[in-house]
């Protein structure tokens, strides 16, 4: 219990310090923090679904872009809170439609479908803008300073981590671990596999949609190529993998160093950025397939002499 209170105190303190950051930082620093928080939230939301079910999704940017476009299309029509609500509902609707039709797909088929989905949504939006609206890009002029965007993202990031923490301790969390171990046993225990996966996919997708919606006003100008850029999906995935996608703090831990590294790379090697990115992806997947947390744990345990080696069978499932 003492340890629990301690962790909560640290969490609250960190949140307070981060919330106060806009009062001390200059524009560049705050901009960096906004980008960082965006990816911390995206990676955590990705881990909430993909890390716990094993369904690797490349649809992150589809939801992210839908959120951004909802804001671009509605910010002059509706009050801001309603815009966010509509964006969340749009993300939810898309997630349910996609989830119902694809969560029966397993493994690589799901990966390919989600990647295709992101492209499909981008092409549909492009087609609509060119043929119906008559213009490709949209401007977003809103009365929101960077500090407001930052605070919203901070609240969303904290909420995402809190929800994940709650789920891991709930019946739903147990259901997910049972499903990850053995789907046949899960079904025979009375767990509705499809509904469980769908609920988690929807929750994760709504969070991703909101990240896109909240960040949208910062760009001022958006077009499909910007907000539906597949790199967002890949970055999110590799950040979550680096930290350990199935753990509460894993994706956040992976997002911080990688985001800073990508910023530095894109500033210093703009022409070779994509190549370096690709090499880094490969390195992470090869060197740390289960994330740094698992890696560190394994090494600490073997060094500490306390042998508690997880049997190989436990790691591989049929």
């Amino acid at each position: 219990m003492m340890k629990g209170a301690f962790v909560w105190a640290i969490f609250a303190l960190t949140l307070a310090v981060l919330a106060a950051a806009p009062f001390f930082l200059e524009a560049y620093g705050l901009g960096l923090l906004i980008g960082l928080l965006g990816y911390v939230t995206l990676a955590s939301a990705w881990g909430l679904f993909s890390g716990r079910t094993g369904y690797v999704s490349l649809a992150t940017v589809a939801f992210f872009g839908v959120g951004a476009y909802a804001v671009a299309a509605l910010n002059e029509v509706l009050p801001y809170p309603l815009v966010l609500l509509v964006a969340a509902l749009a993300g939810l609707g898309l997630a349910l439609a996609v989830g119902l039709s694809t969560l029966r797909l397993a493994g690589v088929y799901f990966v390919i479908f989600t990647f295709g989905l992101a492209e499909l949504v981008r092409q549909l939006v492009t087609w609509y803008e060119i043929n119906v609206t008559g213009t490709l890009g949209r401007y977003i002029f809103m009365d929101l300073g960077p500090e407001h965007i930052y605070w919203q993202l901070l609240a969303l990031a904290a909420a995402t981590l809190f929800i994940t923490w709650r789920i891991d301790r709930s019946r739903l969390g147990l259901a997910l671990r049972v499903i990850a171990d053995d789907e046949v046993v899960a079904a025979h225990l009375g767990i509705d596999l499809a509904r469980t996966k769908l609920a988690l996919f929807a929750l994760s997708s709504v969070i991703v949609t909101l990240v896109g919606a909240i960040q949208a006003p910062r760009w001022t100008y958006i077009e499909p190529a910007i907000v539906f850029n597949p790199t967002v999906s890949f970055l999110t995935l590799v950040m979550a993998l680096l930290g350990g996608a199935s753990r509460l703090w894993g994706p956040a831990l992976g997002a911080v160093p990688l985001f800073l590294l990508f910023e530095w790379l894109s500033a210093n090697f703009p022409n070779h950025y994509s190549i370096l990115l690709g090499l880094l992806f490969i390195a992470i997947v090869f060197a740390l397939p289960k994330g740094v947390f698992a890696f560190a744990e394994m090494h600490l345990k073997t060094r500490g002499g306390e042998k508690r080696i997880v049997p190989v069978e436990a790691e591989s499932k049929p």
Binding site: R171, A175, R177, V185, L189, G190, D192, P311
Partner: protein
């Protein structure tokens, strides 16, 4: 004889061109242990899989106390009160022993969660001879203990019908004795059981009635001792054509 809890009528299962189960009908009476017997490949496990919802029947019907099971997905059948163990023991390896049982408690009809569930899980583990072992990793258990845990998990659901698929296979004589006593104890408590078993000692000791299958069809049904003397059953077991 008491009323039938489970009614299987004209059940068939085809896998492509192979007919694994053909037109099989039988009843399981409430509160009894019924044996489902037959040589390897006779379709016993396929029947069990159709009752639990692992497979959908190609034809025929399965009813539990009047409610239709055939065609339902496994989680709905579980919710109607059917629990099972698997021919090749299926533990949840990344969970602890207690969590394996908690998972069943958390998703049964009358959900149990929290402190109450933990206490119930401990009690169930004690019942199958695993008292105080809840915190161990399920993957670290010996084979017999994994089977005990799987039984505790099935019992946690408080099933109206318990399906045991060769639960006694692979045990040494001492363990077999313990295993038989454990199942007999469940009968005392009024659990209805359908078991697939090759260990004849156990079948004689436990099953009041037996259904015998061979090559996908039912060849005998009735009092276990009489069924086992049936010439067709003896023929099926000892082999006529290829022995």
């Amino acid at each position: 004889m008491t009323a039938a809890l489970l009614t299987v009528s004209s059940l068939s299962k085809r896998f492509g061109g192979l007919v694994a189960v053909k037109n099989v009908s039988f009843d399981v009476a409430a509160g009894e242990i019924t044996g489902l017997l037959g040589p390897n490949g006779s379709g016993k496990t396929t029947v069990l899989n159709m009752i639990s919802g692992s497979f959908k029947p190609s034809a025929g019907a399965i009813e539990l106390a009047g409610a239709r099971l055939s065609g339902l997905p496994a989680h709905k059948i579980a919710a109607l009160g059917v629990a099972r163990t698997f021919q090749l023991v299926r533990i949840l390896p990344s969970l602890t022993v207690a969590e394996n049982v908690l998972a069943a408690l958390a998703f049964r009809r009358e959900r149990l969660w929290g402190v109450e569930a933990k206490e119930r899980a401990d009690a169930l583990l004690e019942e199958v001879g695993l008292s105080g072992r809840g915190r161990e990793s399920a993957a670290d258990l010996t084979y017999i203990d994994q089977k005990r845990m799987e039984l505790a998990r099935a019992l946690a659901a408080e099933p109206r019908l318990l399906l045991l698929d060769e639960w006694l296979a692979g045990l040494n004589p001492g363990e077999l004795r313990v295993g038989i006593d454990l199942i007999a104890g469940l009968r005392e408590k009024g659990v209805t059981i359908l078991l697939v078993e090759h260990v004849m000692e156990a079948v004689r000791a436990l099953c009041g009635r037996a259904v015998v299958m061979n090559a996908g069809v039912k060849i005998a049904e009735g009092n276990t001792a009489k069924v086992l003397e049936n010439p067709e059953v003896v023929q099926a077991y000892l082999g006529g054509e290829d022995a």
